[in-house]
């Protein structure tokens, strides 16, 4: 698994795709950061920035995963991987953790922007950290979704669009949270990615939310493995 992880990580940066992802992430995130904080001056809101960043993830993160499996299929190198002495789950996990590493590194680099808040204001550092922790888990979930869609097709574009749609649906569930039917509202709150994010905006690390993100990510990773298992035996 580690060999796949290393190979995948390297692959991100010997081709322009990794740089394009990093560049786009920094540009979009920087713009959102400026709009929500610097440009707002006195009424700056770092919470709004994090919220918008989650929506930006829906577009940015599929760019990172769109090629990870579909490209292998397209170039027929998938056969090599499936017959190599590495388990399918090891191969998927290696690729997943490579994308997660790139995402985490960019998220951390991007966090340098918060030094500006320190320079011009008095931000609550712990609140920012709790938001970042949640963003990491949400990102991990979206990457798993992206991996799954990448395993379904050999066209990276289809994979990216499929992932974006799926992530948008996951986010759109939150818009139903205003419904007044109590049992339905409970269900919506239970499955909504954004509802689960709410406690982190107050600086509260909600373990149940973290379990939720990790478990859903695990389900999508599992599905990806099953797709490959089926293909291997087909």
């Amino acid at each position: 698994m580690f060999a796949i992880y290393k190979r995948e990580l390297k692959a991100y940066f010997i081709s322009p795709i990794g740089y394009l992802f990093v560049g786009n992430f920094l540009a979009v995130s920087g713009l959102l950061f400026s709009i929500c904080t610097l440009q707002q001056q006195e009424s700056s809101s770092v919470s709004n920035y994090f919220r918008y960043l989650i929506y930006a993830f829906a577009i940015l993160l599929p760019l990172l995963t769109m090629k990870s499996l579909s490209e292998e299929r397209k170039t027929k190198s998938e056969q090599l991987l499936m017959t190599s002495p590495v388990s399918i789950s090891g191969m998927i996990m290696g690729k997943y953790f490579a994308s997660l590493t790139v995402f985490t590194a960019v998220l951390l680099c991007n966090s340098l922007n918060f030094l500006l808040l320190e320079k011009f204001g008095d931000p609550n550092g712990r609140l920012i950290i709790s938001n970042l922790i949640c963003l990491f888990f949400i990102g991990a979930l979206f990457l798993a979704v992206g991996m799954f869609f990448s395993s379904l097709t050999e066209d990276p574009l289809v994979s990216a669009i499929g992932s974006m749609d799926a992530i948008f649906v996951m986010l759109a569930v939150n818009f139903l949270s205003d419904i007044t039917i109590p049992w339905l509202k409970k269900i919506v709150d239970f499955i909504s990615v954004l509802s689960r994010y709410e406690p982190f905006t107050y600086g509260i690390l909600d373990i149940t939310s973290i379990i939720y993100y990790v478990s859903i990510a695990a389900v999508f990773i599992f599905f990806t493995v099953r797709v490959y298992e089926r293909r291997r035996w087909a």
């Binding site: 560049g23 400026s34 001056q41 149940t208």
Partner: protein, 521 residues
């Protein structure tokens, strides 16, 4: 041969089915497991808190500052029997504001023996309740707390322990220590200095929102109840009795230490030779300024009309001039969306030893002040006026009458009054009279006083240095979440370009190099 082929086909179908059904079974099992884990986590969370509050720093709300401790220790050493009772008007378990109660407990434990905490249910102690209402002139409820000292009893509403954002109405900060310490100081002082706001000339606060004429005659307590005006609250916190007086109808009390003229629309009466026996408003003011060590604060804006008598008085006696209807704007150093009207000011006083330098002594170079609808001010060059200077000025990007320059925003004059001895000759002792001119009436508005800008700090510093406050401890309110930024429009623009373009451009450049190298490899 046919049999072998049939067997192979059958095996393949069986394997496919087997793995196919297993896959499906697995998938369903994992999904069910996932739901079960999340349900279990939710159930556990309902029973035991599965939440970690990493911002759990509530102790900061109940910590009493060194300033209060030092001040009270001085009281104890000078007056060993100095004693305060904090009295809640409900049973202990019925006190509705836990933060106010916790802070009171903190005072009690910190100053054990000097500060007591008591609870009185007003529903069962009607007589006592009536007595306290009479004493404080307030219709007391269980949402008030009393601070009883040697000379006075102060009632503080729970709402006055908090700062509210004037735009959103949200509670943004807890100012508990400020409220308690101020009330304790005031209840222990026999006679509080008086801050007089003039009325009768169309004066108002907060850009016309609060006409001062409607507050004439109200007591300090009633004023603080009447409206949540931060300027009144700040003065109260600093130990002043606030009064709103029409100088045509009332005289300035002898204990007046501050006279505030806020955005007058009509002129003040000056000496009228036809009525030699009538003491005019400006004569009364001059007399107070010369004899009572009064500080005068005048705020005007770009819509304040030219007022002949007042302008002449400010100009001739203090060298302070405002140019009616001449606006100062600044497109680079102003708040977003204000069209340059909500401009920012910076510390201007630099001469060490001057009053202005003393006022801004603790201020950093990046300290900023916000002004709205600022009017052009200038300082007279008349040699008969000495000691005038500015404390806050605009940046050089500010513009008035089509000219970019640095304009004064808060100007002052400090003059020495020689004190005469019994024989009527001047002694070497001197008292100082000070007048301040603010180029924006909104400078001291609730919105700006409660903002992240340093308007409140400047007001407090001016009042301390004006020698009008006997004892005052600078206590900061504790913000719940403070996200505001002290950043100018120009800086915001510059940093937006930096964070949005510079780093991504560098990454894209590397991507270009990688792509080119791979292409030519």
């Amino acid at each position: 041969m046919n049999n072998i082929n049939n067997d192979k086909q059958r095996n393949a179908v069986t394997k496919k089915l087997k793995y196919g059904s297993l896959s499906m079974g697995f998938a369903v099992l994992v999904v069910v497991l996932c739901i079960a884990v999340n349900l279990a986590a939710s159930l556990l969370s309902a029973q035991w808190s599965l939440r970690v509050d990493i911002t759990d720093d509530k102790a900061r709300f109940y910590t009493i500052s060194d300033g209060t401790k030092k001040l009270f220790e001085e009281y104890f050493s000078e007056t060993p029997d100095w004693h305060i009772t904090i009295r809640f008007l409900a049973k202990e378990e019925k006190v509705s504001d836990n933060m106010v109660l916790e802070l009171a407990r903190s005072y009690q434990s910190t100053f054990d023996g000097h500060i007591d905490l008591e609870f009185m249910d007003i529903n069962t102690n009607i007589d006592k309740w009536e007595q306290y209402c009479e004493l404080t002139q307030i219709e007391l409820t269980s949402y008030h707390v009393l601070v009883e000292g040697k000379y006075h009893t102060r009632a503080i509403s729970f709402a006055n322990f908090y700062y509210t954002d004037s735009e959103s109405g949200e509670t943004v900060a807890f100012a508990g220590e400020k409220a308690y310490t101020a009330a304790m100081i005031k209840s222990g002082i026999k006679e509080n200095p008086v801050a007089v706001f003039t009325a009768g000339h169309g004066e108002s606060l907060d850009n016309g929102k609060y006409p001062l004429a409607s507050y004439v005659g109200l007591s300090s307590e009633q004023l603080s109840q009447a409206n949540k005006l931060s300027l009144f609250d700040t003065l109260n916190d600093m130990g002043f009795e606030v009064q709103v007086l029409d100088l045509n109808e009332s005289e300035l009390p002898e204990s007046t230490r501050l006279v505030f003229i806020s955005d007058p629309q009509r002129d003040f009466m000056d000496y009228d030779p036809d009525k030699p026996d009538v003491v005019s408003e400006l004569e009364m003011l001059k007399n107070a300024m010369d004899n009572y060590n009064v500080t005068l604060m005048v705020s005007v804006d770009d819509e304040t009309p030219e007022l002949e008598n007042l302008s002449r008085y400010l100009s001739l006696d203090y060298g302070l001039i405002y140019h009616s209807n001449v606006s100062v704007t600044d497109n680079d150093n102003s708040l977003k969306g204000s069209g340059g009207k909500e401009l920012l000011g910076a510390v201007a006083a630099k001469n060490s030893g001057s009053l202005g330098a003393q006022i801004v002594k603790g201020f950093g170079v990046d300290e900023r002040f916000v002004f709205n609808n600022a009017v052009k001010l200038s300082l007279s060059t008349d040699m008969s006026v000495q000691g005038e200077d500015m404390i806050v000025s605009t940046y050089s990007t500010a513009e008035a009458e089509g000219k970019k320059d640095v304009y004064p925003l808060v100007a002052y004059t400090l003059q020495a009054n020689a004190i005469e001895d019994d024989k009527g000759t001047d002694t070497e002792n001197k008292e100082y009279k000070t007048a301040y001119l603010f180029g924006s009436t909104e400078f001291l508005s609730s919105e700006y006083l409660n903002s992240r800008f340093s308007n409140r700090a400047l007001l407090e510093s001016i009042l301390r240095k004006a020698n009008t406050v006997q004892e005052y401890v600078a206590i900061n309110e504790v913000y719940f979440i403070d996200e505001g930024l002290d950043i100018t429009t120009g800086e915001a623009r510059g940093w937006t370009v930096a964070v949005t373009l510079v780093a991504p451009a560098a990454v894209f450049a590397v991507a270009l190099v990688v792509w080119a190298r791979r292409r030519h490899a």
